[in-house]
Symmetry: C7
Subunit: 76 residues, 7 copies
């Protein structure tokens, strides 16, 4: 990856699976289908993870950017 700016990671992850750590210790995995400048994200087929295991299926969601700690492309 030749990232020039942080948002390039978001753009490069469109329609791909990502792992997202959010405040409060929650971890999510889902397909990122949209984002905006506030890092608000739309995820599809979202699953809440616990120690790498699926704890709960959450489907489509709009995640507020200010809840995000980090976003990581998912490599199975």
């Amino acid at each position: 990856m030749e990232a020039k700016r942080p948002f390039d990671v978001l753009n490069g992850s469109l329609n791909k699976d990502v792992i997202i750590k959010i405040k409060g210790g929650i971890e999510l995995r889902g397909r990122m289908v949209a984002y905006d400048v506030h890092m608000n994200l739309v995820l599809e087929n979202t699953e809440q993870l616990e120690n790498g295991e699926v704890k709960r299926k959450l489907g489509t969601m709009l995640l507020r950017g200010d809840s995000v700690i980090f976003i990581s492309p998912y490599i199975p």
Copy 2:
């Protein structure tokens, strides 16, 4: 869903049931009848959930956007 921008999820959820996770670990389910650019939301027939069970009925409410972690269309 062909979401182009995060707020499309809000618009697509108007007058439909949504699950909302808010800060402090509270989870709500209700019909979203209005929203604004701050993600302030109006919910009707709102219920507070605990492990997927209805814990308490809260009726209509105005929920402040900065309390929201994520919003998810509800699929029964």
Copy 3:
């Protein structure tokens, strides 16, 4: 209710009893007699609730908007 925007709920609740959840887990019930764009609110005959019971009478108060989680019309 035909809410078009979130603040319509505030306007429709003027001079009526509301339930307000604020940060820190406190719940209040009182008559809302004023609000502004920051969601700062004036409540009268305010009572602090605990599990639906009146814990303490607080009378008139100015509540800062950034403490608010949600506001709900009170239905006795």
Copy 4:
């Protein structure tokens, strides 16, 4: 009281005793002698309360507005 705007409560409380709940669970009682648009307040003869009892005398203070949860006229 015929409050039209939340700050009318502040203005109407000038030179009167108020109860103030601040973040961190602290409660204060004192005479409010000044305020500004940020809700920064000047209190005189301030006392820290615990369960309605005076725990400590704090005299004059400048209280930062962003610490305030609510302000209530004190009725002895």
Copy 5:
């Protein structure tokens, strides 16, 4: 004191001892020798207090305004 605006308390406390409560429950006492519009403060001969006793000497410090809860002129 005839405070007209909250910052008058800061101005009136220049080169005098003050008690400052900061977030996280810490209490400081020191001579305030400078402040700015963000309530950033410079204190000299600062001491950290615990239940009114000196716990630790901290000397000169620049204290960030957003850490401040309240500032009180010190009366020995």
Copy 6:
């Protein structure tokens, strides 16, 4: 190092390994390949550390700047 401005440290760390402390007590080590004015960072080969030991491999990530406490060039 002759740092004139804080962001010089970021620029000087491009394509080098850094240790990052983020809110919530988490510590990360990875190669920083991009940053922006908000201190949003892109890390590659990121590892989560615990007491200096690798706890988990996280690969590439976009880390939100407002989660950062400090960034330190990594010296093996």
Copy 7:
């Protein structure tokens, strides 16, 4: 010291050792070699302290200003 403005303390501490208290209860000691208007700081030879003892050596770091509680010139 004749500080006229809080940032004079920062300027007067350039290339000198400082003690810094940051949010989360962490205390650092290091040589401050740069700062900006957000109080972002560059420290060199940074050490994390615990009860005045060196707990860990951290070397050079960029510390985000919004993590800072106070900065104090270090007097050995």
